[in-house]
């Protein structure tokens, strides 16, 4: 294989040590270079995505760091249109020959397919709301700082006779979309996460936080919370499977309901693979359930534009338990005679669009108040390995994990062996009795959301495991 011995100076001015991203003028330069090169081809339209990531992650287990990684990558993805056909080619090589080759590869793919009568012209220049989620303190975080925070958490575990495992990650990314009709959109953000599992054999518990601003992450507090719950979980009681009142902490809520939201894609409804087929506008959930997709919410993250560069709109998905609106790409909007909402994936694709910035309206309760209000129920810290059993009734299966506690007469009394659940999300969202205010939550099965803790009646546990 042939790789240029050095990238063009234009795009390689800086060194890697501080994990800096390219200046945004350089991203624009790459977009302009591709658009210029494409002019000398048969492409009638060209779209360019440039995505750059610089991410670091420190991983620990058994009270010590065992993995510690950094990655930098920059990809250029080109979509061309020729004769009513479109295709995409992607590279991470930035020299002009490679960029030219990527344009040609895209055209070659497009020439191989039948003409697509539904293909829309690319959108022109758009206006975007400014969102600022780039925090210098996060971008500048060094491996030594992550290591020191990890060491403190591990020291706490050692002191308590526990074993800590988890991650502390930080990073920055930027994305740019431009096309030959003059559209140009760019966005950068930082991200950080701390996640910890405290093990006190045979028990374990878990806590996690996520923020654009690493100063809002408090590793020691998370470690203390997980440590206390792990100790509480030392001796477990085996309960019979059945229907229980549960209090789901926010991470458990988001990991579960995250599986519902691809159904809010207009393309999923058009394809008849959505649970919302024949159910839009009906009282599907309880009246206390309202959900929106809102990238501009102060606790949300993500670019204010979609894969075609269309500005994201705030969309009210569920109002008072009634599914009111779907999200639309330009293509699905045209089919449904609606306006695009700025939720499309990069073209070409078969999935269309999805809401990715969910905000579930909360209440005025709290986990503590919910526990106090419960005669008999279960507090769920975290759910695991959630998969769809029935796509229309939206039955999900999965396990509880890292802290399941029995509530009796308003008090946590003891830990309980983990259960398997088989639960319809539609049924579940009809039995929400109380909610806390919504917070930015993060789990492991779904993307981050702004969700409340929920007290839910009649939750279906079908089997029990060995621990």
């Amino acid at each position: 294989m042939t790789i240029a011995p050095s990238a063009p100076k234009k795009f390689s001015k800086k060194k890697l040590e501080h994990a800096e991203l390219l200046p945004q003028r350089d991203l624009r330069g790459i977009v302009e270079t591709v658009l210029r090169l494409a002019k000398s081809t048969v492409a009638s339209e060209t779209e360019v995505h440039v995505d750059e990531v610089a991410d670091a992650l420190t991983r620990f287990a058994n009270n010590g760091i065992h993995q510690n990684v950094f990655e930098h990558s920059l990809t250029v993805s080109v979509r061309t249109v020729t004769g009513g056909r479109t295709a995409r080619a992607t590279t991470n090589r930035l020299d002009e020959d490679s960029l030219r080759g990527t344009i040609e590869a895209s055209l070659s793919l497009a020439h191989s397919e039948p003409r697509d009568a539904r293909l829309l012209p690319m959108p022109g220049r758009q206006r975007y709301r400014t969102v600022d989620r780039f925090v210098k303190a996060t971008a500048a975080l060094r491996p030594e700082e992550r290591a020191r925070a990890v060491r403190l958490a591990c020291d706490l575990a050692s002191k308590k006779g526990q074993a800590a495992a988890g991650i502390f990650s930080s990073g920055q990314s930027q994305t740019t979309v431009g096309n030959s009709r003059g559209l140009f959109a760019t966005y950068r953000e930082t991200h950080s996460q701390f996640s910890i599992t405290m093990q006190e054999d045979p028990a374990a518990s878990w806590a996690k936080a996520d923020s654009a601003d690493v100063r809002e992450i408090h590793p020691q507090k998370l470690a203390e919370r997980a440590s206390k719950k792990a100790h509480l979980a030392l001796k477990t009681l085996e309960l019979a499977p059945g229907r229980y009142t549960v209090i789901l902490e926010p991470a458990a809520v988001l990991d579960l309901v995250g599986f519902l939201f691809y159904d809010f894609a207009a393309t999923a409804v058009e394809d008849k693979r959505s649970c919302l087929n024949n159910r839009m506008g009906k009282q599907l959930f309880a009246k206390n359930i309202s959900i929106s997709d809102d990238v501009y919410h102060p606790l949300q993250k993500g670019a204010p534009f979609d894969g075609e560069g269309m500005p994201r709109q705030r969309v009210l998905l569920v109002d008072g338990g009634v599914p009111k609106n779907l999200v639309y790409s330009r293509a699905s909007a045209k089919i449904a005679r609606q306006r695009p909402t700025g939720h499309g994936f990069a073209l070409p694709n078969e999935y269309g669009e999805a809401p990715m910035n969910l905000v579930i309206g909360g209440g005025d309760s709290s986990v503590e108040k919910m526990v106090a209000s419960t005669d008999r129920g279960l507090l769920v810290t975290r759910l695991w390995y959630i998969r769809e059993v029935d796509p229309y009734e939206k039955v999900m299966t999965g396990m509880t994990r890292d802290g399941l506690f029995l509530i009796e007469n308003g008090t946590l009394t003891r830990a309980v062996r983990n259960f398997r659940f088989n639960q319809s999300l539609i049924e579940m969202l009809n039995h929400v009795e109380r909610m806390s205010p919504a917070v930015r939550a993060t789990g492991e099965e779904s993307f981050e959301m702004v969700v409340p803790a929920m007290k839910i009646g009649n939750f279906h546990f079908s089997e029990v495991t060995k621990f």
Binding site: M1, I3, P5, S12, K15, L16, E17, A56, T58, A61, N63, I65, H66, N68, V69, F70, S73, L74, R88, A89, T90, T91, N92, A105, S108, S112, E113, D116, P143, E144, R146, A147, R148, R151, C154, A163, A165, G166, Q199, P241, D271, R273, N349, E350, W384, Y385, I386, R387, V389, Y392, V395, T397, M399, R401, N422, E463, V464, T465, K466, F467
Partner: protein
């Protein structure tokens, strides 16, 4: 290729100068072609390439890893220096110094065998096949969504280590599948061929696609998808279960493949993927399965062209075959150079794999396969007086120590008096891993054995997706809990 070796050498030299006691470098060039159709239209049509280096070093007794796509001498040197800095930061919270099992240096070049390079087959030919299969499925009344896909990957990797290894490997991977969905009343049913979630994938060329005869099977699965609505509900009971090979492959993956990963056993995955019930005291003692069950982890080409087949793993250890379950007894784990000594091994079992140049190698399944038994398939069915045959996975879930699982499949067939008598919908089964494998009383012979590819195994933080292989032939299990997923109790 010379340039790649130069970059690797440059990285190792820099790492050594900065204080690394060990280093290895993976330079990788990945090319991928993705094609999909939906309802007779082209969906995804994309070609991508990615090239970069990942550098792993030991310094101050701890690990550091950095990766970059800036493939200049300066870019790679900066990346190597950063890997050493990260390793020194790791040492600030290091519990014990890393000790690696000894391994020889190898200088070698290997290419996976294939007859037809999928990147040389015209796109038009590939799309025409998918669109024809798509069209065949759409002819069936009641089918509301049709989907097809092909994926091809060509991966060149250059591995160099500070002990002197220089290994080039080229792998060609192909995969394809089709699916028909039917929405009627208040029910969505789906059938897939030859497997769900992307079909079959293997370390083969385009000959894999041709051998699967997508067009021939398109009409059959479409008719089954539509017919499932009228089928009887799978009953809830304890009974005899026969699993088709494609479902058994995933059962092996989840309830044998993951629990034997030694990093998981040692707690290194406790925060995310979980731990394992196979604690170190179980080795050579636990009766994992019935005496007819033999399972190996085999990365050698002799085992077949699986997604877990290679010549060397990503820390330069040659492919091996390890007994996992022998005559029902638990015999082995998947290990690497760092963990081998925990189970008294002098050498890694060669299972370190990285998703790409920007990921750290971690312990992964290779081809974890159930060896063939002695039964002819027709004899197995006729020997089963009353049972349920389940085919093609629909959902899968298992707890974080790999004890309790639940699977559902797309379709099932009721067996009465040794004959398949009727179709059942919404099938599912569940159980405890060791109880399940100890209930196995029949495994079909090699004629019915397929090395299934699972292309989407997720593990690690940051997440890595890896392909694994699972050889399986249909097998029978007694007294299994059936139908729990749809229970309303």
């Amino acid at each position: 290729m010379m340039l790649m070796w130069d970059l690797c050498t440059n990285a190792l030299d820099t790492a050594k100068l900065r204080g690394a006691s060990y280093g290895d470098v993976r330079a990788i060039h990945l090319r991928q072609r993705d094609l999909t159709t939906k309802n007779g239209q082209v969906g995804t049509l994309a070609l991508s390439e990615s090239v970069g280096v990942g550098i792993r070093v030991l310094a101050s007794g701890a690990w550091g890893f950095a990766s970059t796509d800036r493939l200049t001498r300066d870019g790679v040197a900066a990346c190597a220096a950063q890997a050493v800095s990260i390793a020194k930061a790791s040492a600030l919270a290091n519990r014990r110094n890393v000790v690696l099992a000894p391994e020889r240096a190898y200088v070698d070049s290997w290419q996976s065998p294939f007859r037809k390079d999928p990147f040389e087959i015209p796109l038009g030919t590939q799309l025409a096949l998918l669109l024809a299969a798509d069209g065949e499925m759409r002819k069936v009344k009641g089918v509301t969504l049709t989907e097809t896909n092909m994926q091809f990957r060509k991966i060149d990797s250059w591995f160099a280590s500070s002990i002197g290894s220089r290994i080039h490997q080229r792998k060609v991977i192909s995969g394809c599948g089709i699916g028909a969905t039917s929405f009627q009343g208040e029910e969505i049913q789906k059938r897939s061929y030859p497997n769900s979630f992307g079909g079959q994938h293997a370390l083969e060329g385009y000959e894999l696609v041709e051998s699967l005869e997508l067009l021939k099977h398109a009409r059959v699965i479409a008719e089954e998808a539509a017919a499932l609505h009228a089928a009887a509900q799978c009953p809830e009971k304890f009974g005899t279960l026969i699993l088709a090979g494609n479902q058994l492959g995933l059962q092996i993956h989840e309830s044998i493949g993951h629990p034997i990963e030694l990093d998981r056993v040692l707690g290194q995955e406790a925060n995310f993927a979980g731990t394992s019930f196979l604690t170190l005291d179980q080795l050579n003692k636990l009766k994992y399965a019935s005496s007819i069950v033999n399972v190996v982890a085999d990365a050698r080409l002799d085992h077949g062209p699986g997604l877990g087949t290679f010549a060397y793993d990503d820390e330069g250890v040659p492919a091996q075959c390890t007994d996992i379950i022998k005559d029902g007894k638990f015999r082995g784990y998947l290990s690497n150079r760092e963990t081998a000594h925990f189970i008294g091994l002098e050498r890694s079992s060669g299972t370190m794999r990285a998703e790409s140049w920007n990921r750290l190698p971690i312990i992964r399944m290779t081809n974890v396969s159930l060896l063939p038994g002695t039964w002819d398939y027709d004899d197995l069915i006729s020997d089963t007086g009353d049972g349920i045959l389940m085919d093609t996975n629909r959902s899968w879930s298992i707890d974080d120590r790999r004890y309790q699982f639940q699977f559902s499949t797309e379709i099932a067939w009721e067996i009465k008096g040794g004959k398949k008598v009727r179709m059942l919908k919404n099938p599912s089964y569940s159980g405890i891993t060791t109880e399940f494998w100890n209930s196995c009383d029949a495994i079909c012979k090699f004629d019915h054995w397929t090395l299934w590819g699972t292309p989407n195994c997720g593990k690690g933080q940051p997440m890595q997706t890896m392909g694994t292989g699972h050889g399986a032939a249909p097998a029978r299990f007694r007294n299994i809990r059936i139908g729990t997923a749809f229970s309303k109790q």
